[in-house]
Symmetry: C2
Subunit: 333 residues, 2 copies
């Protein structure tokens, strides 16, 4: 089969010919129709991720059709259109991942291939209202957004919610999910164009974080936030503390700007704030997330679709951060 | 009546003769038998507290006997031994204090006086197993400890709990409450003697935070913590993140060492930690806290008792941080 095979660090993403994987008990073989990029794939290519091994097929997000099943119980999956939960071995505690938890696409071979071997318990039927490309956009970003927004930040209908960094995959799902849940959603971005696009999705307002007093402007627009979903931390974190309402929750799943800023603790305790770390989610959250997408007929925002042999150009485009929505690979036979 | 009256900044605590307060509807007059110090009193004396006004009687903690009641409904309180909830105007939202929230002893006259005027709704019967001196130790520190431990850090029977800075009033109540709740309690202190005293109260272990690798030693003793109650933040905060178990909670009600240290956010989200700010508590928490003390027959740790005319010596002693438990004023007629 054709697959993107990384054989060493800093190698461009190139299509190679590799063996179709053999499946064993509890596993199925999925013919992948579309796969999506995440920043994780970029970090792996650059060697900026723990536990990298070679050779490996990257890719956490995928969507396709089940072609084979090893166990009799799994024969029912054959012919089904599926998306794949990339959270492998979350384990029995819904609050936190087990020590052997991994994400699809390292160390296990990932979705940037014509075929994927995967445990059947990680399958979920593709939402009928979505194309393969749209559905392939969901798994990693949708699951991360669902957990940080609902499980961790505990957003409720009618609350004012700020999502920072509109444009990224997780942020866009968080925006769509929070709007669907009846929240009043505000966003930040470094691009006025992305703010306008997020508003066209249903966000109530937004501010360009390149403005000096962006947080004061957001405070004026909104009156403060019951919940904030962030992935940057760094110098901006203290400003998020300032615009959180008393008893507010600030949940984050990344720290692209690094450590917290100074001057924060007294405001956090006086305002009774919750600062909540979050990652991708557990198996139940994955099912709930897919059901939520079906119930609210949410269409993932796809930035662009690339052929498998254009994977290197696609990942270079991802690295520029100019996209609005997911960057997807179309994988033909 | 005799009272400690602050008339300007940096003035020593001196006994003055002032008018017995007049009560009006909903208020009672309490003959104070004992009052306790908090760091807040020291900060007010030094001018390091917001909204200081003069002249004022300091003191948030008090215990005594009701002598008069303005309203018929409150006559039932007359002759009762009471302790006083110093959380004034918490308001209707249990999660966070209202904007007009204040603490007894600024701007309202406080407990360092022979008589106190107070709203009857802030009264609670003195636990029968405690002396006036012991009961006067409870209000501010006990309420802060109860909220941070149970409402915010959500500690459960059997969990491993770390309380930092054993010796202070809040930390000691947190230690006693967590032990009573069936937790395995560990402590830190800058004094080996205080650690030994906390262990004699029932703490399982502790480490002197002046040791370079105090957090690693605690990790070895305990295997990590489900919940941590802190009042320091600062450079040590990153170490607390290191020794919190996955899905652990770190709750804090102070930041005596200032802003958070660097390098923290990725560990917080990967471990799914909750970082939770907390202050004194609401009216319901005050009642629950007093009931908890009665149910578990907890005896507050009293460091020393001073006569009212020794208040200045007592507050100087407080400022040295050498005490283990509450510093109490005995107030005779």
């Amino acid at each position: 089969m054709k697959a993107i095979l990384l054989e060493s660090l800093h190698q461009p993403l190139q299509v190679k010919s590799v063996q179709v994987p053999e499946i064993s008990s509890g596993e199925v073989l999925v013919r992948i129709h579309a796969a999506a990029f995440n920043h994780r794939d970029l970090w792996i290519q650059k060697g900026q991720y723990a536990g990298i091994i070679f050779p490996m097929i990257p890719g956490a997000d995928g969507c396709g059709v089940v072609e084979k099943a090893a166990s009799t119980d799994d024969k029912k999956w054959i012919g089904k259109e599926v998306i794949i939960n990339p959270s492998i071995n979350w384990g029995g505690n819904p609050k936190v991942q087990a020590t052997d938890y991994v994400i699809l696409g390292l160390p296990h071979h990932g979705t940037f291939a014509q075929y994927l071997k995967i445990e059947s318990r990680l399958l979920c039927e593709k939402p009928a209202h979505l194309s393969f490309v749209e559905a392939a956009s969901i798994p990693l970003a949708g699951l991360t957004a669902f957990r940080v927004l609902f499980t961790r930040a505990r957003v409720q209908h009618g609350e004012k919610v700020l999502i920072t960094g509109a444009g990224g995959g997780v942020a866009l799902f968080a925006i769509q999910f929070a709007i669907a849940a009846g929240c009043e959603v505000y966003i930040t971005s470094g691009s006025d164009e992305k703010i306008a696009k997020a508003v066209s999705l249903g966000a109530k307002g937004g501010v360009n974080y390149k403005k000096e007093n962006w947080h004061k402007e957001l405070q004026q627009q909104s009156g403060g936030f019951d919940a904030i979903v962030d992935s940057a931390c760094g110098d901006n974190f203290a400003k998020l503390v300032d615009i959180a309402k008393p008893a507010g929750r600030i949940a984050f799943y990344g720290a692209t700007l690094g450590a917290f800023n100074s001057g924060v603790p007294a405001k956090i305790f006086w305002k009774q704030l919750d600062i909540l770390g979050s990652t991708m989610g557990n198996d139940v959250e994955f099912c709930e997330m897919v059901n939520f997408i079906i119930r609210h007929q949410i269409k993932p925002v796809v930035d662009s679709v690339w052929d498998l042999d254009k994977a290197q150009q696609a990942i270079e485009y991802l690295s520029k951060g100019e996209q609005f929505g997911k960057i997807v690979l179309s994988i033909r036979l």
